[in-house]
Symmetry: C2
Subunit: 293 residues, 2 copies
């Protein structure tokens, strides 16, 4: 479905750039915009982007498929502009990490039928065009969150697109997606960042950490523009998750401070048991939607 | 210095097992004890351990060098027994992750002159004999914490030993070591475990996490016997570090809950800046002791 199609991509960071590379590698034609003209020019020099879209997204009417690869706040601001120009596209997708507000914006912009909110679970602490690679989505899980009016045809097209990129799609209600991500993605991210700031203020350089500590703090190196937008967009759910984590942390601290070895061991054991069951590749905690025919 | 030496190792887990493999690979003779007889027998079948020590550590008098590779609490309990038997050894080391109490126990057991508290910074979430490998210490940082009476000859011998295993040694006061590790190692570990328990209680399986979240929670899979001993041994310093982290986390939560984008971004930026300086391989935060001649 990609060969001979024209795909318009707005935003050539890690995600958008990787989609651009994957589409070009499969014989598709890529039109793109990035407010960072250096990235855009580099992408054109690299032969990945065939033509630039205008600043006002002029040229979008040529696209069969539109991909918005921007932080969630910019996605919501850009959707009305996309709706005006993308007259021909049969499928419009965004790649932001939260989906509830994006799906609502798409409905409000009048493109609900052709829109599928999309979230590839391929987080990386790297960002920008230079980090993009055609294989980013190989084997990745991609959540598809339809609007209330998304047609079966648009959803099937989205599945075919990601399947061509070797990703595994799962259709999911946008609200369920965001509540779930608050725990499984946003909480670990904020924890990693808060730990990084704590160590910075204690005067501990990252180079003093062992391999384990470096892993725990790796996510703190991610794009802060993207993550502050996620935090704002999913604030209530993230706040609940943080409160639960703080309570758990207090239990650990109290057990340790009192040298209550039995309680400390029980807490550590609970964490380890969870890690061990995690080796199984089952996604029992996520409620999946049946695909509409 | 290893070839033709007899090295006694008590504990054949990840650390002790890896020392055993590295010593055997360099032509040393390994005597060992592990209360898990299966590990010990496997190590003998693998040709890594040449003979078993007695349950009471009988046979330790043959050793030129003794390595205790046990959790910190077991190390302290075992040191008096070692002191009685290790009559010939010119160097005794432990490999526990905290050093203040071990060094004090060695002094109290009357082996202070020949003892060097040792901490190889090669943390792994894996544990046990099956995880041991001869190359574990390649390029690793190894902290050497002398007692108040360690001789220059014993310290030099310890340096030569780890140097033969391709590790980089740094002599450090045991108290400074433990205070430092509370931040750079123990705090990230407890954070990882507390996050694992939080997710377990929220019903989120580890398989639902992306690669970033899996990294943040990886340390929670470590040996809980080892880590509850560390937590008890370094409780006051860990408690301080946890309190500082909890305060930082509260700042993040308050900024997010109020959708204060500017504060959220500033906090995330501080974490990211710390990550980026961490790419430099400099250990500015640790106070190193000059080696005594």
């Amino acid at each position: 479905m990609i060969a001979n199609s024209t795909v318009a991509i707005v935003g050539l960071g890690l995600m958008g750039g990787s989609v651009a590379r994957a589409v070009t590698a499969r014989g598709g034609r890529v039109l793109a915009h990035d407010r960072n003209t250096e990235s855009l020019e580099q992408a054109m020099r690299d032969g990945v982007v065939q033509a630039a879209l205008g600043h006002d997204l002029g040229g979008l009417d040529e696209a069969d498929l539109v991909v918005l690869a921007l932080p969630v706040d910019a996605t919501c601001r850009t959707l009305p502009v996309v709706a005006r120009h993308a007259t021909r596209a049969r499928l419009l997708m965004d790649l932001a990490s939260t989906k509830r507000s994006v799906v609502a914006c798409a409905e409000s912009a009048g493109i609900g039928e052709r829109f599928v909110g999309t979230h590839p679970l391929t987080g990386s602490h790297r960002s920008g065009w230079h980090a993009a690679r055609a294989s980013l989505f190989d084997g990745a899980r991609v959540f598809l969150c339809p609007t209330s009016t998304t047609t079966g045809a648009a959803l099937r097209l989205a599945e075919q697109f990601w399947s061509a990129l070797h990703a595994r799609t799962e259709a999911l209600d946008a609200r369920v997606h965001d509540d779930e991500m608050a725990w499984s993605s946003h909480l670990p991210h904020i924890v990693s960042s808060a730990l990084a700031v704590t160590l910075a203020e204690a005067g501990i350089p990252r180079a003093a950490l062992g391999p384990g500590g470096r892993d725990v703090t790796r996510l703190a190196g991610s794009s802060t523009a993207m993550w502050s937008a996620i935090a704002a967009d999913n604030a209530p759910a993230i706040t609940s998750a943080l409160l639960a984590f703080e309570e758990q942390l207090r239990s650990f601290r109290e057990a340790i401070a009192c040298r209550d070895g039995e309680s400390t061991r029980a807490l550590l054991d609970a964490g380890r048991a969870w890690c061990e069951t995690g080796e199984v590749e089952v996604r029992a905690g996520l409620e999946t939607l049946p695909l509409t025919p």
